[in-house]
Symmetry: C2
């Protein structure tokens, strides 16, 4: 049995949970909540970076971060399934994953800046810098939503959109109709998306 340290709101952990479901591995993975903010949580001993998700293997060793876990699970399932083996498709999927993860990185920094620190210490320019990354990424994705079979890139983008829905109340939806339609289809096609909603 593998153990996935996760939190319900983590978009990176959600990516892994959806990939595991699509790979038929969900029943081989026990999901165990971790509190990244708690120094006493075993997470920091399992992963020095103290980050979610972290996957504990059967020999007790740990794998991180989410990209490495995604590739490991794909490998366990035979390889080339959520991360295509053919180079052109592979690098398109990996770039798309980087874009989705990058939206999450920026959204998390905005969250830290606007929620996790005393109000008097907030810096509007830091928020604007990260918001610019999100806006440009959403613009690019709206102009060309993920296409073809579902892969780790599609999943990463869906989890990023789910995360900005969760944290910023869907403010992105008004200006990105194509991407909204794409996400609605993804949610219909991939039941694990709704099932992992925070």
């Amino acid at each position: 049995m593998l153990i996935l340290r996760y939190s319900p709101a983590s978009p990176y952990a959600r990516k892994i949970r959806i990939a595991a479901d699509l790979l038929g591995l969900a029943e081989k993975i026990e999901i165990v909540a971790a509190d990244a903010a708690d120094p006493a949580d075993s997470l920091r001993r399992q992963n020095p970076l103290g980050k979610i998700p972290t996957l504990i293997l059967e020999d007790g060793s740990a794998l991180y971060d989410s990209r490495v876990i995604a590739e490991y699970l794909d490998h366990l399932a035979g390889g080339g399934r959520m991360i295509p083996a053919v180079p052109s498709a592979r690098f398109t999927a990996l770039r798309l994953q980087a874009l989705g993860d990058g939206i999450n990185d920026a959204a998390l920094l905005i969250r830290y800046e606007s929620f996790s620190r005393p109000e008097g210490l907030r810096y509007d320019e830091a928020i604007a810098l990260q918001q610019g990354k999100i806006d440009r990424a959403l613009g690019a994705l709206d102009a060309g939503p993920p296409a073809g079979d579902v892969d780790i890139g599609h999943i990463a983008v869906a989890c990023a959109l789910g995360y900005i829905d969760l944290r910023f109340a869907g403010a992105w939806r008004g200006k990105h109709q194509c991407l909204v339609a794409w996400l609605e289809k993804f949610a219909r096609d991939i039941p694990a998306f709704e099932a992992t909603k925070a």
Copy 2:
């Protein structure tokens, strides 16, 4: 000709420059500085996230982020060279890369927090949280430095140590003698490390 958008101080770009050198690809890659802080720099059109490094391919499309670029260059060089093909070695290397990149992620957040914002808006707890990640990662690496042939994990760790040397004046060295010795050997063995020093 490929074009690598980089900055001299970026540890993620340094990782790619060293990997390219070891893969024999350096002469096929033109390095072109990018200013991630300048909205007018073409970087933000090449990569919506506006991040360094970004690799421009011969067809004009762009690849990002550094992990995707590293795998692409390894593929161009035949595959399985800086990112081992054998699963056990591959996931060890990818986890080590995630650890090195994670040190850089934390160090950059400390840099933003302590340097890139007005002094009155700094939040000591945010710095302490990131410093904890770095300290635990360095402790783990000092207890077990990268072993075996040089791979992308070794390069990522060396670039992370180089980055905290650059930004924090080598404060990590006193308590991590094994890791200091490892880095000195890496620097002797891999000339591209010194050649890419900021």
